[in-house]
Amino acid sequence: MQPQSMDLTKTIMHIDADAFFASVEQGFNPLLRHKPVIVGGTAEQRGVVHTASYQARARGIRTGMALMRAKTLCPEAVFLKGDYEHYRAVSQTFQQVYLQYTPQVEFTSLDDAYLDLSGAMHLYPSAQWVAKAIVDEVYHRTGVDLSIGIGSSKVIARIASGLNKPRGMVEVPPDTEQSFLNPLPADILPGIGRMAKERLTDLHIFTVGDLARLPRLVMEQLFGRNGVKIWEYARGIDHRQVKRKIIPRQISRETSFEEDTADMGIIRGTLQYLTERIGKKLREQDMVGQVVGIKIRYSDFKRHEGTRRLPNPSNDSGELFRMADTLFEQLRLRRVRIRHVGVSVMHIEPKNYQRSLFDSRGRQGALNSAVDDIRRRFGFMALLPAESLELKRKYRMEPHGYILHNPALTR
């Protein structure tokens, strides 16, 4: 069966670094190679596993597992705090390599990218040749293994890249998409999480093929608009383009405290610091956010979350923080120490049009530009809001930021 309206001339490649953070550590330190490596914090710290090397995964370590549990499962593992700056530098090397083959590259995260080779295939013997050249050069320069999927759409390429990890390369030739997808488990499709999988299992739908045979209407009734998208993916239909610039759905920053705290100076300072980082990121990419959210986790692991819409979309750190602070005051109703806080900005859009005739935020915009210029020149910590200086009592200051309890998140 030929899926309808699929562009078979496209050659899309999805590249994913295998166990990225752990691979970087192993790539740059031969003493760590072939050892179980866990990035997220030291074994004595509280916190969770960010990335585990394949040797650690073989021992049952999974992302999101508590570090102490990981230590119990694999006492000989090497625990590392992680170094975001290092991972970012390695990711930039990936970018340099990918851009040698096509300008159509969409970087979805530090270790994950789509390449659209459709317009460049006349330059190379085959897509597999390009994939091999990329894998070899990245390994030579960074020691990190990549897994690559090649297909006629983003969804096919993405699924293919995950099938044969680590250092896997799977190409799905045109016209074979449906036969490739049919035997795979249904939850391999993007958009199917644990809950959706359970609902499908109740209906005796186990494979992508089972799902593709359902009438479209059934999926729409089960999962709404998302169901239609999943149904299309199950038939290999994916019209998404490889975009050179993507607008994230949300930007969030969060951290756990080294020890549970009721110190409002530290908590507020952390919230302000995290918000400041989000504001900087938004301004760098010329974007604004409409909704601010915060997350609090107490020492008894109870969680409170809240969101609120700003009067106008903004990328001004001060405005974002005032909203985060208001939300925090509303949410913090318990007299219990706090373990973890997070701030997020959602409903992000490009900052490309004037919302109001009498926009009085020109001065603030000019101030933000000046602050960003100073930070570009002297580092992020050259200028800080006063409340975030409270964190000096707890954390080491580097020119690029505080080294928080969970350094992998020090962005």
Partner: protein, 84 residues
Amino acid sequence: MRFEDIFESIEVISHFKDGTMKPLRFRWNSRVYKIQQLNGHWVSHQGYTHQHHYSVISDSSDYFELLFDSSNFDWQIARVCLDG
């Protein structure tokens, strides 16, 4: 095996060629370490300042991460690996 952050200034002998820099020996705690193997190099940016990180193995088979700060030409030991 565990890693410890040090961030102490050190003296380094480096080799400069074709626009690249390669540390050869360094003195730390009154002891001279010869660099046996350069595992990798990466650059982080702190504003306009570039910090060059070198992952090295010394002649004593110890792992070090050395840091060169381009703003003040200062070398530091950033991290060491402690066995055990």
